[in-house]
């Protein structure tokens, strides 16, 4: 049986374990190789600078979105349903950033047969700056 978190066992204020990755060019390349995201601003420093990022090439927003999903799935387990994920890209993911996702339960509610939690999320860099605030709604299994 799959590992999972039950609705009854979680509380508002609970924090999710972060998903952590250092994003270097190899890491971006690996993502480009599954999402076909071979876009010059993500690959080439000159193109990144042309795109107004002085430090050069910068990371894909979709990759940070994937890290959020990984955190959610790792925490909630395979019986949970990820119903909604929102993310805003407020700061650039620079090369070699050490990114850590964060998640905190801000609401817990029942809607019909669904046992739901709303989670505030972010992707924080090595300086502690939130780069991509967002939210998620997850339907958890219930013991009831």
């Amino acid at each position: 049986m799959a590992y999972n978190v039950y609705f009854e066992d979680v509380n508002v204020g609970d924090e999710l374990p972060g998903f952590k990755r250092r994003t270097d060019l190899m890491n971006w390349n690996r993502y480009a190789a599954i999402n076909d995201e071979f876009i010059p601003i993500h690959m080439d420093d000159a193109a990144g600078r042309q795109g107004q990022n002085e430090q050069g090439a910068f990371g894909m927003g979709n990759l940070r979105t994937a890290y959020i999903h990984n955190m959610l799935r790792n925490w909630a387990g395979d019986e949970a349903e990820i119903r909604e994920v929102g993310i805003q890209f407020r700061a650039i993911n620079q090369k070699n950033d050490q990114l850590t996702t964060t998640g905190k339960i801000v609401e817990k509610y029942v809607d019909g047969n669904d046992h739901l939690v709303r989670i505030e999320t972010n992707v924080v860099n090595q300086e502690g700056a939130g780069t991509a605030p967002g939210h998620a709604i997850i339907c958890l299994p219930s013991r009831g």
């Binding site: 927003g61 979709n62 805003q88």
Partner: protein, 176 residues
């Protein structure tokens, strides 16, 4: 920015196409290997959850079989129309570079992914063929540190071969 600022970045094409849904486009059939490889890419260097690659395991979960990570993109790697493909093709065939249209240089030609909200419904499974349709639904403009900046909202809807809704994505792109 030293470039002269236009009064608006909104184009006639945007006004004309607002709320007009694109002709649905189909993905290649999703294979179990596509899903496994996606999961490997986003979890690297960890082995991804079994739900994404182990059918024996996955059939005993509530899903009854392998599903794709929610953010899986079945539209990656089209045979034609990939980003940069036309320009690269022109180069190998010795033709002049194609016009870059509105994505040339100057104000409005730079684009960034501003963010998105995705509502998930049916999961994507091996064998699925996903259809996508999208529309430009809204925009607004304001001055930012990048100069005049436009926030453009597009909505995309995916359905599977059974007509079930897979997801609705509301995406904001930033142009400056």
């Amino acid at each position: 920015m030293t470039t002269e600022q236009p009064e608006t970045l909104v184009t006639q094409e945007m006004i004309d196409t607002r709320d007009k849904w694109s002709e649905p486009r189909k993905s290649w059939p999703v294979s179990a290997s596509d899903i496994r490889r996606w999961a490997q890419g986003v979890y690297w260097p960890e082995v991804p959850p079994r739900l994404y690659w182990d059918e024996e395991y996955a059939k005993n979960t509530k899903w009854g079989g392998i599903i794709a990570p929610e953010e899986f993109n079945p539209f990656a790697f089209p045979l034609e129309g990939a980003y940069g493909q036309e320009a690269a093709l022109a180069e190998v065939q010795g033709r002049p570079a194609p016009s870059t249209g509105t994505m040339g240089s100057g104000p409005g030609s730079n684009a960034m992914n501003g963010g998105q909200t995705i509502r998930y419904h049916a999961p994507i499974r091996p064998g699925d063929v996903i259809s996508t349709t999208s529309a430009l639904v809204d925009w607004n403009e304001r001055q930012t540190r990048l100069g005049l900046t436009m926030f453009v909202t597009n909505e995309t809807r995916w359905t599977n071969q059974n007509g079930e809704l897979v997801c609705v994505k509301t995406q904001v792109s930033i142009r400056y």
